[in-house]
Symmetry: C3
Subunit: 211 residues, 3 copies
Amino acid sequence: MLYVPTLLQAIDLIGTFVFALSGAVAGVRRGLDLFGVLVVAFVAAVFGGITRDIVIGAVPPDALRHPHYMVLAATAGLLTFRWYPLVARFTYPVRLFDAAGLALFAVAGTEKALHHGLDGLAAAVVGMVTAIGGGVVRDVLLAQVPVVLRADIYAVAALAGALIVVAGDRLALPEAPVAILGAAVCFALRVLALYRGWQLPASRWYAKGGS
Amino acid sequence: MLYVPTLLQAIDLIGTFVFALSGAVAGVRRGLDLFGVLVVAFVAAVFGGITRDIVIGAVPPDALRHPHYMVLAATAGLLTFRWYPLVARFTYPVRLFDAAGLALFAVAGTEKALHHGLDGLAAAVVGMVTAIGGGVVRDVLLAQVPVVLRADIYAVAALAGALIVVAGDRLALPEAPVAILGAAVCFALRVLALYRGWQLPASRWYAKGGS
Amino acid sequence: MLYVPTLLQAIDLIGTFVFALSGAVAGVRRGLDLFGVLVVAFVAAVFGGITRDIVIGAVPPDALRHPHYMVLAATAGLLTFRWYPLVARFTYPVRLFDAAGLALFAVAGTEKALHHGLDGLAAAVVGMVTAIGGGVVRDVLLAQVPVVLRADIYAVAALAGALIVVAGDRLALPEAPVAILGAAVCFALRVLALYRGWQLPASRWYAKGGS
C-alpha cells in the first residue's frame, strides 16, 4: 500500500492509527475489557484491507505481513483505554485524519484491485470496502447496525474517489495525478458532509421500524 | 455459474435480483439510508457466492468479475427504496422466485465446489452456503439472529438439493439430469414448506430465552 | 493440524467436539431451530480454523477437507438439542476440555501460520484467531457482543501460548517441546483464570454504557 515512501506512508500510518482510535473508542463505550478494546481497534484499522487482499487473492494480507499495523492498532487501543476522555476530546481533528485515511484507503485499495486484474466497477467496490470494511465489522462485533449503512456521507465519498481512479485507468491517464484527484474529491466530500451535516435519506417508507 | 446459456442464466439473474430484493426490503424496514439499502441488497444477493469462491480458492469471486451482479443488486435496491409498498405487495410471487434462486444457487454452488476438488459432504455444505450465505450476512448486518437459523425449512431444502448433486457425482451419473433433479427437490421442498407452514422445531429445552 | 497421530489427534477431536458443544448450547438457549443449532455448533468448532486457512492461503480449508469435523459438530449439536440439561450439567469438565482445545488450536494454528511464511507477531495473531474465531462468530450469529471481548482470561491465554511458539521458532528451538510448553502455558493460564475468577478490566471510563 506504500508506493511513494513519504507522504503516502505517513497518511497510511495516520489513517491506520485513526481508524484504530475509532474502534477503541467504540469498544470502551460498550464496556469491553482491555483485550476486547485492542481487538476492535485492530479490526477497525485493518479489516477493510484484509478483506480486499482475500478477495483479490493477495494472501497473506498486508496487515498481517507488516507488524507496524498491529503495533499502531495496539498503541491506539492502549491510549484510548487509559485516557479515553482525552481521545474523545480530540474528536474533531480526529475526524479530519479519518477523512484523510478514508481517501487514501479508497484510492490505494482501488489501485491494488486494478493491478490484480479486477474490472472497473469491481475494483471501485473493492476500494470502497478497503476504506469502510473496518468500520462495518467494528459495529458488527458490537452487535450494532453499522453506522455507515444508517447515516452520513461516508461510503459514498469513498466510492466517488474510487470511481475517479477507475475512470483514470480506463482513459489510460497517468496514475499519480489521478490518485491525487480521487483522494482529494473523497476527502473534500467527506469534510463538506461533516461541516454541513449532509446525510443520505432513509426510504420514505420507513416508519414502523424494527423488523 | 452460467453453464447452459439460457434457462440457467435466466434463473441465475432472477435469483440474484430476488435475493437482492430480500436484502433491500429488510434494509428499508430497519431504516437504513439509500447507501445502506444498496449494500444490504448486494450482500444478500452475492455474499453466498463470494464465500463459496473464497473457500474453494476461486478468487477474484464471480460476483466481482461480472458487473451485472452489481447492476442487478443496485436496481433491486433502488426499486425497493422508492416503491417499497409495491415490492412488498409482490411478496408471494417473489417467494417462488426466491425458491428458484435457492435451488439454482445450491446446485450450481455444489457443482462448482466438486469441480474444485472438494469432497462430497464439504461440497454439499459449500453449495448450501452459496444459497443461504447472503441471507445470513444480511441479517447479521442488521444486528439480528439470521432468520434461517431460527425458523422455516429453507437451508434444509438447499442441503437436500446439494446432497443429490453429490450423490449423483459419487455414482458417476450424468451431470445435467442430476442437477435438474437436485434443483427440483430443493424447489419443491421449499415451496411445500411455504404452503404448509412447515417448520423445524426448536429444542424442547428452550424456554427461558435470552442468554 | 494432526501431526503426531495419537495424543494430538485425540485433543483435536475432543477440542472440536467441545467447541461445537459451546455453540450448540448457545444456540439452544437462544431458541434456534434444529438446523440453526447444528450450524452454530459447526461454526463454533471450525470457523477459527477456516479463517486461519483463508488468511494464509491454504484453501480449501482443513475443516472442509476432512468430513470428521462436520460429523463431530453435528453429533455435538444433536446431543445438545435432545439432551440439553445433561450437556449443561457437564459444564465444568467441558470447560477443562475447552481449555485443552484452546491450547491445542492456538499452538497448532501458530505453527501452521509459521510454516506458511507468516512472520512472528502475525503468526501469533493467526494462532490466537484459530483458537477464538469460532467463539467470536458464534456470538455474532446470535447478535451478541462476543463474550471473549467482554470478559474472562481466554484470548490472552491463547495469545500467550502462541507467542511461546513464535519465540521458540525465532530461537530455532526444537518444535515439539516448544509446542508442549506453549500449550501447557495456555492451558494453565486458562484453568487458573477459571478457578480464581480472573478477569481483564474494562476501561475505568466505561460508565454510561450503550452507544
